[in-house]
Symmetry: C2
C-alpha cells in the first residue's frame, strides 16, 4: 500500500507510470527538471553523461523530478497520511517542490541517480546565484536542503513514504557559489520504521570534502496521521 | 576589524549606516524585506507589531534584511576573508541571499528581532507555497535554512563574521505549508572562535514544538582565508 501512492513517487522524482494511477499526457503539470538545460556547467553535463551510460548497463537509474504533484496524487497522499482536520487549512494551488521552485540556472540544478541493489543515491548538484549565503558561497541552508533531498530519496527508495526526523551536517569547507558538487548517500541501517542514511558532499575531482551528514527518516504510517 | 566589514552586516540584516562605509541612497540595491507585505498572515503581523513595541522599549531591535549585498561591500568581505585565487571563479552579478530570493509571499517571509544583552534572536517565519516538501507541508530543507539563518544571526550578533560548521536538527512534527511559526535562538557558549547556539521552532500559540536544533558557528579569521 505504501508504494502505491503516486504523490510520494512524484515528489521524490519517480517516473510517471510507476504509481497506481496512470495519467494522460495532457495532465502533466510541468516538465522533468532532472535533465540538462542551458545553465548546466560542463562538469555537470559530463557527470550526467557518465551516469546515463551506467543506466544503460542496468545497475543505475536516473530519477525524474517535477515542480508540482498532480492534484489527484496529492489527494491520494492526504487521504492516506494526513488528518482530515488539517486539510481545510492547506492551500495547494500554488504549491511547488522547494528545490524545483527556481527558474533554470538560478537555484537548485541537480539530477539524482539511484542504485537500488546497493541502496545508494548519487546527486550531482550545481547551486545557482540565488542560493548565496556568505558572499560568493552557497548558503548553508541550501546545502542542507540538497542533502535532505538526496538522503530522503535514498530512504524513500528503500522504505516508501518517509519524513525527515533528524539531519546532522558537518560543514567542512564552504562551497563556492555556482560550482558543481557530488553528493553520495548510502542507506546504513533500518530499525523498524527508522531509516538511517549517511552522505558526503565532495568536489567533482573528489579531492575536496565539503560536508558530511547523517539523516534519520521515519516511514509514514497510515494509522498515525500527520496533524 | 571584524565588526567593520559591511558585507557581513548587510548579509545578516544589519541596518545601512552601521558598517564602515556609508552609501548614497541611489546605491540601495533593493528594499528592506523584513517588513510586512500583502502576503503576511495576521498572526505574523501581530507578532511583528508586538515586537516593534518591545523595540520602542529599548531591549529588542528589528533586523532589516536585503536580497543583495552592495558590490563594494562584497569586495570588502572578499578582501578580508577570501583567497584571491578563488575570486576569479565567483560570479556575483546575479547573486542574491538565498532566503530572500523569492517573490513576496511565495518563499521565506520572515523578520528577526535581536536582544543583544540576552544574546537571543527571535524569528517569525511564514513558509510560502514554493517551500513545499511532502505535499501540504514545509520542506525539511527550508526549515533547516531558516534555522541556519536565525542561529547564524544569533552567533553573528555576538561574534561578527561567522560560517556554519554544524547544524543538528530534530524534526518533531511537520509544519503545515503557509503556517506561521516562531523560532527562538540563544547563544549558549563561546569557546575561542566557536559559537554554540540552540533554538526551537514552535507554533504561534506555543503549544506545538515543531523542531529543535543546535548549531555551531566558526568566527572567520582574516589570517585563514576561505579557499
Amino acid at each position: 500500500m505504501l508504494r502505491s501512492c503516486a504523490a510520494r513517487f512524484r515528489a521524490l522524482g519517480a517516473p510517471r507510470g510507476s504509481a497506481r494511477r496512470s495519467f494522460a499526457s495532457e495532465n502533466v503539470p510541468d516538465r522533468d527538471h532532472a535533465l540538462p538545460n542551458f545553465s548546466w556547467h560542463k562538469d555537470l553535463r559530463l557527470l550526467f553523461d557518465q551516469f546515463m551510460k551506467k543506466c544503460e548497463a542496468g545497475s543505475w537509474k536516473r530519477l525524474p523530478s517535477y515542480k508540482r504533484s498532480l492534484p489527484e496524487t496529492v489527494q491520494d497522499f492526504q487521504t492516506l497520511y494526513v488528518d482530515p482536520k488539517l486539510l481545510k487549512k492547506q492551500p495547494i494551488s500554488q504549491a511547488q517542490l522547494f528545490t524545483r521552485s527556481f527558474e533554470d540556472g538560478l537555484g537548485f540544478e541537480y539530477v539524482m541517480f539511484c542504485n537500488d541493489a546497493e541502496k545508494r543515491v548519487v546527486c550531482f548538484f550545481q547551486g545557482g546565484p540565488h542560493l548565496q549565503g556568505t558572499p560568493g558561497f552557497t548558503h548553508g541552508g541550501a546545502i542542507a536542503s540538497i542533502i535532505d533531498v538526496t538522503t530522503g530519496t535514498c530512504a524513500f527508495r528503500a522504505g516508501g513514504a518517509v519524513m525527515t526526523a533528524n539531519l546532522n551536517i558537518n560543514y567542512k569547507r564552504p562551497i563556492p557559489l555556482c560550482s558543481v558538487v557530488v553528493i553520495k548517500s548510502q542507506l546504513d541501517k533500518v530499525e523498524g520504521r527508522k531509516f538511517f542514511v549517511s552522505c558526503n558532499v565532495r568536489s567533482v575531482d573528489d579531492e575536496t570534502l565539503y560536508s558530511e551528514a547523517t539523516s534519520l527518516f521515519i516511514m509514514l504510517d497510515p494509522n498515525k496521521k500527520l496533524t
